[in-house]
Symmetry: C2
Subunit: 336 residues, 2 copies
């Protein structure tokens, strides 16, 4: 497979670029005219670390790589603009496979109004994707960082939690799968496996939250406990989270029990949900709920509050407290 | 090694970001206020494909990854702005190694006025670097693409050619090394090995050429023949190159002969010199030579002209013609 041939084939398949893109893929660099402020993030996925090729279609892998990167733009409240994709191709991935993967990314790009404006292709020992995304806002002040949460703010989360972790349990643990023979958790549109393999960046909700006065925001890639800790540290405040208020994704309770885990702990520590966690003044909570709901993408749930200090505390029913940490109990131990 | 710990250590070591960067590494995304137009390019390097760890210091690898990416900005005539680095860390690379690699990139960032504004770290089976760079210009029209060359334009190249390919011959072929026992080609500042391991992006020359009216420009990463072909195709013109006019890097003649190769063919087809090839109106040639020389980075050599059609023709002494192609005769066959 020639790198140039593949790039030419890819260019043929890309959706038309957005108005800010003056020159897309095929020159030394893409040329854009951003205006205002830009938010830029990079995200890398490696086979055996972030996904397993035997568990995903190539289209799902391409789609997830872009979704994970766009989720960072959602967490800034930015409008998605351009994406640049580095593809590391292992010896056993042929050109049709590369194109299937890129088609998966291109489909999400089209759905979200993102221009795939450039990229690079190289050989690599394992399938590797690195995605750079650029989002836009009228000014830097319109973008929401992790560092503005203030004591008294309400803490909210979009969508539902634990679904991606439950999906990973189904994919990785044969004994969980087999104990749930009656469960309908399949690769359908809303099941836990789909939450794991085809996450959706909450771009509309992120912009609604930014407009509704969110003081701090982060996307839940590492898990609620760990990501809440990033907000607490960056803002210099504490967070009190009521685990009983967490919106559980469908199937989480059943799958967690089959795996011998507490469903609320799974929701509080499971990664890759790519929902948004935000702080905002309590007097703007109703406005935020209405704004997020109006966009039709997902709903908003109040799960706690910002306090002056004390780090992150997740209160479980019965007075137990969860350790705030990332989700690391699954057997996803690295490249094989 | 914890990803978060490493990222925190990295942030401590970064040079202060430039004035366009409102928020650097450590949030969901970096925030910049570009103004005007931006040029964005991504470039990936993988151990065993683009370098070999046993031939380079880690600092050289980090430096080269950023240099290769910045070279694309040089070829647009853009001012370097921000860089975002994805690092795929293999099991045998420890935290001090990662930091040495990042220090190498940071040193070049400081030298070139580039802000290392973000990144991502992941495990990977082989050392992998993906660098996204963003450059700036007052308007999109100030940036030089590959597609504006016109018949009658002069064709010029910066610096010297063949040095990186000669350095690769020294690194890869024991019989070349041993036949050159008396040769001083070492890892010093100007030798062929340094040209291979520590290329320098021609950022100042690129901006000087853009200001002097370059109609098309590309950086020589794949080799003169192949990269000239990209300009010819994008501009819809032909290129006539006089191989005898090519500025040979020191050591190229001796090393090529030791390897049984024609020095001019090596210079015409060897990749990774990261010099710039540009077309410009002949009446502005003197201005361009003076502008490039005045910046003190390198010199400019006229090597041919743009004609109406006929693809790329490289005329060798004695009436021979070289095939215009990338440099692929070396044994750099991929991940091991």
């Amino acid at each position: 497979m020639g790198e140039f041939d593949l790039l030419a084939r890819v260019r043929e398949r890309l959706p038309a670029p957005g108005p800010r893109v003056r020159l897309g893929s095929g020159d030394d660099a893409a040329v854009t005219v951003p205006g205002g402020a830009t938010a830029t993030s990079v995200d890398a996925l490696v086979d055996g670390v972030h996904f397993r090729r035997e568990q995903s279609s190539l289209a799902q892998i391409g789609r997830k790589a872009l979704a994970a990167a766009l989720s960072d733009l959602a967490a800034m409240g930015a409008e998605p603009g351009e994406a640049y994709l580095v593809l590391g191709v292992p010896p056993d991935l042929d050109e049709p496979g590369c194109l299937e993967l890129l088609d998966g990314a291109a489909a999400l790009a089209t759905e979200t109004g993102t221009s795939l404006a450039g990229g690079d292709v190289t050989r690599a020992p394992a399938l590797t994707l690195a995605v750079t995304v650029v989002g836009h806002a009228e000014s830097a002040e319109d973008l929401v960082t992790r560092s503005g949460a203030r004591p008294g703010d309400a803490l909210v989360v979009t969508g539902e939690l634990g679904g991606a972790a439950a999906g990973l349990l189904l994919l990785e643990r044969e004994e969980v799968r087999s104990s749930l023979v009656s469960h309908r958790a399949t690769n359908d549109d809303r099941g836990p496996v789909a939450r794991q393999l085809e996450p959706r960046p909450r771009l509309n909700a992120g912009r609604a939250l930014a407009e509704a006065g969110a003081t701090a925001m982060i996307d839940l890639s590492d898990g609620l406990g760990g990501d809440a800790g990033h907000i607490a540290e960056a803002s210099g405040i504490g967070l009190r989270i009521d685990a009983a208020a967490l919106p559980l994704a469908p199937g989480v309770a059943e799958i967690a029990r089959a795996a011998g885990l507490d469903p609320l702990e799974l929701a509080a520590s499971g990664g890759e949900d790519y929902e948004l966690l935000a702080a905002l003044p309590p007097e703007r909570l109703d406005e935020a709920v209405a704004a997020v709901t109006a966009r039709g993408e997902t709903q908003l749930t109040r799960i706690g509050e910002v306090v002056a200090d004390g780090g992150v505390e997740i209160r479980l029913p019965g007075g137990r407290r969860s350790k705030p940490r990332g989700f690391d109990q699954l057997d996803r131990t690295g490249p094989r």
